[in-house]
């Protein structure tokens, strides 16, 4: 994709939120890849997951070590082919990478929002994304694509704005979280809240950073993104320091320990704890069919697009069973659906990786997504 540049869209029409409050004015930071055609009919929206942001592909500078988080899937000749599509990727409101969120200044108080930022739901993101589509002059997306929490937004789009999306691509997602999912999110939040530096979310005003709590939250989350097999093959029981020799009373340190700590500290240096609280709660709240008498079939009858659903065999965070529930509801609702269950060792993280069969299926499907209305 080469060098890409984030842009900012400002909105001064208040955005009504599911919690009952309005977001008076706000901004969205976004990137685009490829060219919008004259009919404005080749646009693809990428929705990010829990810790993602607008930087999905390409590099910000020649010195950048890592490309955007979904560079494997977006670019010329890749599944989301920028020679055909105009791709829009944004940071959701509530985020911490440039869109209005807890670290932004609350215009009423002149202080950072912090924990007082309104709680958000997936539908709030979808509504703000629809405003961004208006801003960019896009009436109907050729496709909306998302993995994990991003897939939930894609599904919500299909129900809330059925005439504004032609294809919905839902990868490694679920119609709602299981009790186990909820439990992991609670552990993550408790880890953050138990850090004295969190100060009930007012750390920004106090000039502290709850790095330990946020790092711990990320460590727990990270375990759930990997499969047992992936961890075993990556680290096994290899030692980073110490030995099992008898007569040696030093504690050993396994490779997996230092890896997790590294992940935690990397994350806590680049992410905001209040955003993490907000995002995990939005995940917890999500239930595709709640407003449709808890009937997913009735819910999907509101959609009029085609669906591609993809799951990964070792994903235990959002297992193939969760994806099959989506597929079965679509079948029962008589909606066009294609489903592939990809054999992959990498667990939930597989949706970010260039697994050959995944790329084949994704590419084959995207090639049939027309660029005309």
């Amino acid at each position: 994709m080469g060098i890409v540049e984030p842009r900012i869209a400002r909105f001064d029409q208040p955005l009504p939120l599911a919690c009952g409050r309005d977001l008076a004015d706000y901004q969205l930071v976004y990137e685009t890849y490829g060219e919008l055609n004259e009919e404005r009919s080749n646009a693809v929206l990428v929705c990010h997951a829990l810790s993602g942001n607008h930087h999905a592909a390409g590099y910000h500078s020649a010195e950048d070590k890592k490309p955007g988080w979904w560079d494997e899937c977006i670019g010329p000749g890749k599944p989301v082919d920028t020679d055909r599509f105009f791709v829009v990727s944004l940071n959701n409101i509530g985020g911490c990478h440039g869109s209005t969120g807890p670290t932004s200044i609350n215009p009423r108080t002149g202080e950072p929002w912090g924990p007082d930022f309104p709680p958000l739901r997936a539908r709030d993101w979808v509504n703000s994304q629809a405003r961004l589509a208006d801003y960019l002059g896009i009436d109907c997306w050729a496709a909306i694509v998302g993995g994990s929490l991003g897939g939930m937004q894609a599904m919500r789009w299909a129900l809330e704005y059925p005439d504004r999306v032609r294809h919905c691509i839902v990868i490694a997602a679920a119609m709602k979280l299981s009790a186990q999912n909820l439990a992991f999110n609670e552990v993550a939040r408790q880890a953050i809240m138990s850090d004295p530096d969190f100060a009930d979310g007012h750390y920004q005003a106090r000039g502290t950073v709850p790095a330990r709590g946020l790092g711990l939250a990320r460590m727990v989350g990270h375990i759930t993104y990997l499969s047992d097999h992936a961890m075993a093959s990556k680290f096994g029981r290899d030692l980073r320091s110490g030995s099992f020799e008898q007569g040696d009373e030093q504690n050993v340190e396994f490779q997996v320990q230092s890896y997790l700590r590294y992940q935690g500290s990397q994350f806590s240096g680049s992410f905001d704890a209040n955003t993490y609280m907000l995002m995990t709660r939005a995940l917890d709240y999500f239930d595709l069919a709640r407003e449709y008498d808890n009937d997913p079939v009735a819910a999907f009858r509101h959609s009029s697009c085609s669906f591609l659903v993809i799951s990964f065999s070792t994903d235990w965070r959002f297992s193939p069973e969760r994806s099959r529930e989506i597929v079965n509801a679509l079948i029962a609702a008589d909606r066009p659906v294609t489903y592939a269950e990809i054999e992959a060792d990498e667990g939930h993280d597989a949706f970010l990786l260039p697994i050959p069969r995944y790329m084949d299926v994704f590419s084959a499907y995207m090639r049939r997504v027309g660029v005309r209305n």
Partner: protein
């Protein structure tokens, strides 16, 4: 296009809904879509076939027939097709029941094990037939439930399945009469249009 597929095309009503169980690379569903404006869904488990079918623009669900079809509602399709897969499933009888629960009509094709060549092979050599048409050894074959034309019709009778039409493919296209007159001896592929 395999002969049995060109034969069954004419039983498919234009514009109808078709579920193809074991749809392979989607060749048949594509034909039905392009020539008969059919709204089709395919079920397949082979990864390569699934990708080919997706590339054809078809709706394909990765699903193992042996784990059932309970996710498809009653009478949600006009026709359910099972082409050359009856002999490969764990419970052919249950699949037939499911086909006619999900669809108003079913179309089944299978290799006829009663063909004289099979009988001759088994009768003279005393070994399971291996041929160009059935190229697998008994211990390593997807075909675990071979049957004959007579076997299939007996099962239909037992299950009160009505045979709307029977068609056969013979050894060569030059002898269609032999195969249609004595199907259990001369049909290489049997083709049935069934309903309840």
């Amino acid at each position: 296009m395999r002969l049995d597929l060109t034969h069954i095309q004419r039983w498919i009503v234009p514009g109808s809904r078709v579920l193809d169980l074991g749809c392979g690379n989607g060749e048949f569903l594509q034909l039905l879509r392009d020539q008969r404006q059919v709204r089709g869904t395919g079920i397949e488990i082979d990864p390569h076939e699934i990708t080919s079918a997706i590339a054809r623009g078809l709706n394909i669900v990765e699903q193992n027939l042996d784990r059932g079809l309970a996710n498809f509602p009653d009478q949600s399709f006009d026709t359910v097709v099972l082409a050359h897969a009856l002999q490969a499933v764990h419970f052919p009888d249950r699949v037939l029941d499911e086909m006619l629960r999900i669809g108003r009509e079913g179309i089944v094709t299978f290799p006829n094990f009663g063909h004289w060549r099979c009988r001759l092979y088994l009768g003279t050599r005393g070994k399971m037939p291996v041929s160009r048409f059935m190229p697998y050894n008994w211990y390593d074959t997807p075909n675990i439930h071979f049957c004959t034309v007579k076997d299939f019709e007996a099962l239909c009778e037992q299950k009160n399945i009505r045979i709307l039409a029977r068609d056969v493919v013979g050894n060569t296209e030059r002898q269609p009469l032999l195969a249609s007159t004595w199907p259990n001896l001369f049909a290489t592929t049997a083709i049935y249009h069934i309903t309840r």
